[in-house]
């Protein structure tokens, strides 16, 4: 029996009459490589927002390692080890790549509170950020402003910031979205090389990526869980095929 890192029970979220996430029971095992797929508007990003605490659920619970974190603020959840990336880059665009990562590291190690000690003397923070950039092959652009990097590299910085938080659970929202296919392998390689004990949930549209990376796949449709299984099971599931070919109705349910 594998240990469950993150679990949701009957998790729901409405926006007025629209039920974006409906009654989801979901388990993410320790060290999982889990993909979350589903058509546009299926509620995948809303689901991530509920897990990270950006949005409060209208109903249901979120458990981290068995502990109820439903009422916890986003910052507290990060401290407990939930990190995420965004579908659209959210970077400190005017700062250097190294500074982007340093800010995250400083926050994690608790350095960011100190007001009267120069950041430049926190060599532990800078060392760690630099080492992380090296593993992601970003060291040679460390001094460049993020806004000056090509998009693929920016996505990598997006990943670097979340890894800098030493997460136990990493939620990746379409990490390779918008990256030209010639470069997307850099990002996928980086994700594959992440330490095995991190539980990873990845939202992804590209089925090749899903099959290459995930050992388990969950399909979301219309805000609800539609199917779950190994990639092979999902691939041979005719209903899932229908959904992706647009033959079944999958609009968000209205109440």
């Amino acid at each position: 029996m594998t240990k469950i890192r993150l679990e949701t029970q009957a998790l729901s979220r409405r926006f007025g009459a629209l039920v974006a996430v409906q009654n989801i029971d979901f388990k993410l095992a320790a060290g999982a490589r889990h993909a979350l797929i589903g058509p546009n508007g299926a509620g995948k990003t809303t689901f991530i927002n509920l897990l990270t605490g950006v949005l409060p659920p209208t109903h249901g619970r979120v458990l981290l390692g068995g502990r109820d974190i439903t009422a916890m603020a986003q910052a507290e959840r990060v401290k407990l080890g939930i990190a995420r990336t965004f579908q659209i880059n959210r970077l400190f665009r005017g700062l250097s790549v190294l500074e982007n990562v340093c800010i995250a590291v400083a926050e994690r190690v608790g350095a960011a509170r100190s007001m009267f000690y120069p950041a430049g003397r926190r060599t532990d923070v800078i060392d760690e950020a630099m080492a992380l950039l090296q593993t992601l092959k970003l060291a040679e652009v460390a001094r460049h402003r993020v806004s000056e990097l090509p998009y693929g590299r920016q996505r990598l910085v997006e990943l670097a910031i979340s890894i800098a938080l030493s997460p136990k659970v990493l939620l990746l929202d379409e990490p390779a979205a918008g990256v030209p296919s010639a470069e997307s392998h850099i990002i996928l390689d980086a994700i594959e090389r992440l330490p095995e004990d991190i539980a990873i949930l990845i939202i992804e549209h590209d089925m090749d990526v899903v099959f290459r990376f995930a050992s388990r796949v969950t399909v979301m449709v219309g805000g609800a869980l539609f199917a779950e299984g190994t990639p092979r099971e999902i691939e041979s599931n005719m209903q899932v095929r229908d959904v992706y070919l647009g033959q079944a109705p999958y609009r968000a349910a209205h109440v």
């Binding site: 970077l91 190294l98 950041a119 060392d127 460390a142």
Partner: protein, 352 residues
């Protein structure tokens, strides 16, 4: 314990990277940082007839510096920063006018405290909002204080203010001479220096770095677990305290306080000064104040309308073409022309 370090055991020493070295050196003093202070002292000897102008200049620099912390570093867009300037000015003015407290240094600390309390209390509720609502709330808070000062004329002197404030000698020795502002000038310069050292330290600390992060992308700061609201509130309170010191200093060097300390005029002027110089840059406050006040002093007296027209055109041009202000413009030019050579020289031996 960290993912990154455990994976990078065999990598070359990361500190050798120029980016890391640049970051480690950033807080160090550079030679040109002595220039404003040398200029400040030189001004004392070179322009003995302009020392009260010099006091105004110092007060404006300090006020703009306080705004820079809130606006340039934490990204709080406020139209009401004079609320704190005025609080400090009235704190000093009322304490002195009723002979409660006239010692100038401790009076400034009390001004800072009063402004910090107002900043903290208003920030507690205002900083939850953003955009137009925040702009309006800061503006209304300031207007509220202005009207309160107007209403409480029994204590504040109302529209006429409190004239001829008694100020005790600095360190019990150096008297403020109402006719010749030499003591005032040096005192003000000293206060500015102390405040600047404080702000500079703050800006280069990890705390300051996280404020920059909040300005650059607040959503990301939330996502990396930063207590954004608390940081912004702390920053706003410190900024208010510094503005309070600026206001107190203004009251002391002029030996009066009136409603102009709290008005939209003053709030807009300091915003213009800071943006003219370049915000989020620490020295923008200095450049902006010197240029603005010098132009105002010499042009506004002779051609007030032309001054206003020129200022308007300047603002429009800055907003359209030079968003970093004068310092930003200088940096851009340096990067394009002057910077190339020296950067190549610096990178040469260490480039991978």
């Amino acid at each position: 314990m960290s993912v990154a370090v455990s994976r990078a055991g065999d990598a070359a020493a990361p500190i050798a990277n120029p980016a890391a070295r640049a970051l480690m050196r950033r807080h160090r003093l550079r030679w040109w940082e002595a220039l404003p202070w040398l200029a400040g002292i030189a001004f004392y000897f070179a322009f003995p007839d302009y020392l009260s102008f010099g006091c105004d200049l110092i007060v404006t620099i300090l006020f703009a510096l306080s705004l820079d912390l809130a606006l340039g570093y934490a990204g709080i867009i406020t139209l009401g920063h004079a609320a704190f300037f005025g609080t400090g000015a009235y704190a000093v003015g009322m304490l002195a006018s009723y002979n409660v407290w006239t010692e100038p240094i401790t009076a400034l600390l009390l001004a800072a405290l009063a402004a910090a309390v107002i900043g903290f209390l208003s920030g507690l509720v205002l900083l939850r909002t953003a955009g137009l609502t925040l702009l309006m709330l800061t503006l209304c808070t300031m207007a509220l204080l202005e009207q309160a000062a107007n209403m409480g004329h029994a204590y504040t002197g109302g529209f006429d203010g409190l004239p001829s404030l008694p100020i005790a000698p600095v360190f019990g020795v150096f008297e403020f001479n109402p006719l010749y502002a030499d003591t005032q000038y040096l005192f003000a310069l000293g206060v500015l220096f102390a405040c600047f050292v404080f702000v500079r330290t703050l800006v280069y600390s990890p705390f300051g770095q996280s404020l920059t992060g909040i300005r650059e992308n607040i959503l990301r700061m939330h996502a990396i677990g930063s207590p954004v609201r608390r940081r912004v509130l702390v920053c706003y309170t410190i900024s208010a305290a510094l503005a309070g010191i600026a206001g107190g200093l203004w009251a002391q060097t002029n030996a009066y306080v009136n409603l102009s300390a709290l008005g939209l005029d003053r709030a807009a002027t300091v915003l213009i000064v800071l943006i003219l110089g370049g915000y989020g840059r620490l020295y923008g406050a200095f450049i902006g104040a010197v240029i603005y006040l010098a132009l105002e002093h010499f042009l506004a007296q002779i051609y007030p309308t032309a001054w206003q027209l020129g200022l308007g055109l300047l603002l429009v041009l800055i907003a359209l073409f030079a968003r970093g202000g004068i310092l930003g413009l200088g940096e851009a030019l340096w990067r394009r022309y002057g910077g190339k050579l020296s950067q190549r020289r610096r990178d040469g031996p260490t480039a991978p």
